[in-house]
Symmetry: C2
Subunit: 256 residues, 2 copies
DNA sequence: AATTGTGAAGATCTTCACAGCC
DNA sequence: GGCTGTGAAGATCTTCACAATT
């Protein structure tokens, strides 16, 4: 199969663990909020509470960026904001295109959190002629036929895919062919991309399913046979057709 | 501080690792897709490819549910769909309320992925009188004053918070007080909830920031001094005011 | 012959607990 | 005295590789 190794990150890799990277934006938000309240200095314990993590974890995370705190005192808020922003690459602007202007695409186009953090939406694209031409949040929706031109001309470096599931892989192939190496995918499909392209996925339905799992557990595990024997959870029914009632409908709806 | 331990899951805990739970919905989607194509049996390798994971991981994940495969053959698709669905609690219906009917709330209300997987949206609530009364996806938006009644009367067990950041914690407190113990939060804040309440968070801006980090790395690390000395990355500037240019604007916009 | 299920090794992530510094 | 930065221990997650089973 294709190469995999060296996943943690390219070369050079000053080695910030992925788990840490995923939390830096949370710290950043908490810091901004402190800044707004005029707080100049913060301890790891305070910031950890604001960010919803353990303070040892916070300190270790920050230690990967450098030694930016002062023992006995804490961290200077403004300075830390700057360092984290720089590490995340937010001191420069990133040009984003949103592909698929349905309900979700519109919501994304109007989302204030983009602009405020150095993400500039430079294109809204859709395949539907009804939608093309419409103005949304100050941008005119363009036809997806112009995808390659738009990406090239405007220097788009992040593509947000908010199309129906069926269209997502095709769109993804096109943006990747146009040189985009970062994709945020809202369509409920697993996108396959070449080595070197980063895909992050946001899936509303998956989040709900995870909640349902825990909710069910609170109520007392999967209804039927739970702990019959103390031994290994051997099959209570052989892998023939499902036991008891038919497994409900389970239609794969087109979703989104 | 408050108790923490025993986080992995309540008591009884037939012990499905959290990482596995998070992947089960992905497998389920891949299986549905196979089902649609009329596939009756699948090997771990095939399913793994469809789900975008390593096949050993897939087998280990499934082994936590039981022994539902047949050596030398593979897994029966329909049976596996049933077992995963049951484990995730999708053989019953979950009643969902969406609070905050802005762009995002509308997108969520119209999202097909909910209904098709046993999630029934039974309420759309908003504080804005302009919006209350509007009909969206077959539901009439109700006033948030009725939150407690609606949750109680309709048996809502999962609350989706899609309000502006400032309103989220207040709404969260109210849904929790009404007995909801599962919350899906789209507002860009850390919600604090009592022990026993599950919160999952979806944050668009955070995903983009993570992408930006990797994108920047591909281009060659944070612009300035990168690897100066071979020693520890000691502070290149003391924790005084930020070095060089002012750290841009960094306004904490109201977002959403 | 093919494929599952799983011990064991390895990698990554979290937490503890305390030395080191202000 | 207070708080950071971090080695070391512990927990969790991933991957390998192969015995078990059909």
């Amino acid at each position: 199969m294709t190469s995999r190794q060296t996943r943690t990150r390219d070369r050079s890799d000053r080695g910030i663990p992925e788990a840490t990277v995923a939390r830096l934006p949370v710290y950043l938000r908490a810091l901004h909020s402190l800044q707004d309240r005029g707080v100049a200095t913060v301890s790891s314990e305070e910031l950890a509470v604001a960010a919803g993590v353990n303070s040892a974890k916070l300190r270790k995370d920050l230690s990967h960026l450098g030694s930016y705190g002062t023992r006995g005192v804490g961290y200077e808020v403004e300075y830390l904001v700057y360092q984290i922003s720089r590490e995340l690459g937010l001191t420069q602007d990133w040009v984003v295109a949103i592909i698929g202007v349905g309900n979700l695409g519109r919501a994304l186009a109007g989302y204030g959190g983009f602009a405020s953090r150095g993400f500039r939406v430079a294109g809204l694209l859709d395949a539907d002629d009804e939608i093309v031409g419409e103005e949304i949040s100050g941008l005119t929706v363009e036809h997806i036929d112009r995808l390659e031109d738009i990406i090239g001309e405007r220097g788009v470096s992040i593509a947000v895919i908010a199309t129906p599931a069926g269209a997502a892989q095709g769109v993804c192939d096109r943006v990747v062919a146009s040189g985009v190496t970062s994709v945020l995918n809202f369509a409920p499909v697993v996108l396959s991309v070449p080595e070197g392209v980063d895909v992050r996925k946001v899936d509303l339905s998956i989040e709900l399913q995870i909640l349902a799992f825990h909710e069910q557990r609170k109520a007392g595990g999967p209804d039927e046979f739970d702990a019959l024997d103390g031994a290994a959870p051997k099959a209570a029914a052989p892998p023939g057709p499902p036991p008891g009632a038919t497994p409900t409908q389970y239609v794969e709806a087109v979703e989104a």
